[in-house]
Symmetry: C2
Subunit: 208 residues, 2 copies
């Protein structure tokens, strides 16, 4: 009995020491700003996806570009698409080569800023103008191909974004992804980062 009380007496200092120890050994990187989340796709009770945040610190996978001047001025997607995958799902992809449940892939829309620079004529990113996302969730999308739901936060003609979004109808996004994307509705044929990282561990993360 005495021993028990004795240990309790020292539990508090031990916990305080733990906190100091955690603080001291934690490396200072941008990634530490990322909260210790279970997953990065958060839905409310109505099944709406909460607008993701902090995704510019996730894993970048590619930037498809189909500008207006290469599509008779009527491109369906005239802007840069900066595409990111959440870090947890990236880790799974590196190990298994599959997208796990709760994978969220975001597509940030960036308009074409400049078309001429000292480096030559081309396309240079301008300003952020929109945000879309796809989320794999078997429970929420049991009937959808690959269990993917597609979401749009963009407010047309504005640089503001919706706070949350409902899943899009199948024909708006999923049908095209299902028909043309190389891997589980994801266009890996345009994403060398994903191809290199697939089940490759850290060897696919660059420079190895």
């Amino acid at each position: 009995m005495y021993q028990f009380r004795f240990n309790l007496k020292f539990l508090f200092p031990a916990v305080v020491l733990s906190m100091v120890f955690v603080y001291a050994i934690t490396p200072v990187t941008a990634k530490d700003a990322t909260p210790a989340v279970k997953n990065y796709a958060v839905f409310n009770e109505n099944g709406k996806l909460q607008r993701p945040t902090g995704y510019r610190e996730w894993i970048y996978i590619g930037s498809p570009l189909t500008p207006n001047d290469m599509n008779d001025g009527k491109a369906a997607f005239p802007e840069f698409h900066n595409v990111y995958i959440d870090p947890i799902s990236w880790t799974h992809w590196k190990v298994s080569g599959k997208f796990p449940d709760d994978t969220i892939i975001v597509k940030e829309l960036v308009n074409v800023g400049s078309k001429e620079a000292v480096s030559g004529n081309g396309y240079f990113q301008g300003e952020f103008i929109g945000l879309e996302a796809m989320v794999k969730n078997k429970q929420l999308f049991p009937e959808a191909p690959g269990h993917w739901g597609f979401f749009r936060f963009t407010i047309e003609g504005s640089r503001q974004l919706h706070k949350r979004a409902s899943a899009q109808d199948h024909e708006n996004c999923a049908s095209c992804h299902q028909s043309h994307a190389a891997t589980d509705l994801v266009f890996t044929q345009y994403y060398p980062v994903l191809r290199a990282g697939k089940a490759a561990g850290d060897t696919g993360t660059g420079g190895m």
Copy 2:
């Protein structure tokens, strides 16, 4: 005296508890694979920069593109440039709006893969074909503009990369960066991620 010995007796269990606590609270993300490094730019004793690795898990800042067919078939930089900044320097940038000593910015070269997709005509990334980097280091480059050194790991006509690289002559890279880049030799005018993140804390990391 007794009290002193008494405390020591409980130091070991406290440290063990600390270790367990650290393990338990550490979030499982891709970023945890990143070693707790002091900085990401490593030089050997001859001042050569070791080829960086794992940079596809750093912070992506942009993808300038100046393709051959927009430059009379003779583009100086005909490929996509995927540009990343190391996580430690990104954290500094978010706080101070400046690039600290030891900043490393890498530019991964990706050839143009496809020019046509279901989404329209455009440019889509193909395969990795090269790697360059710039490093800010006052001690190693005391006379260089902004203390930046520029490095090239690309092996022409090969997808292999040099293991290490010496700093380039001023006229190869620095002179153009010095004359045309908006912020401390970095082309922030083409990098909305850096502009949004500059001294903005986490509010510039997307979706906020």
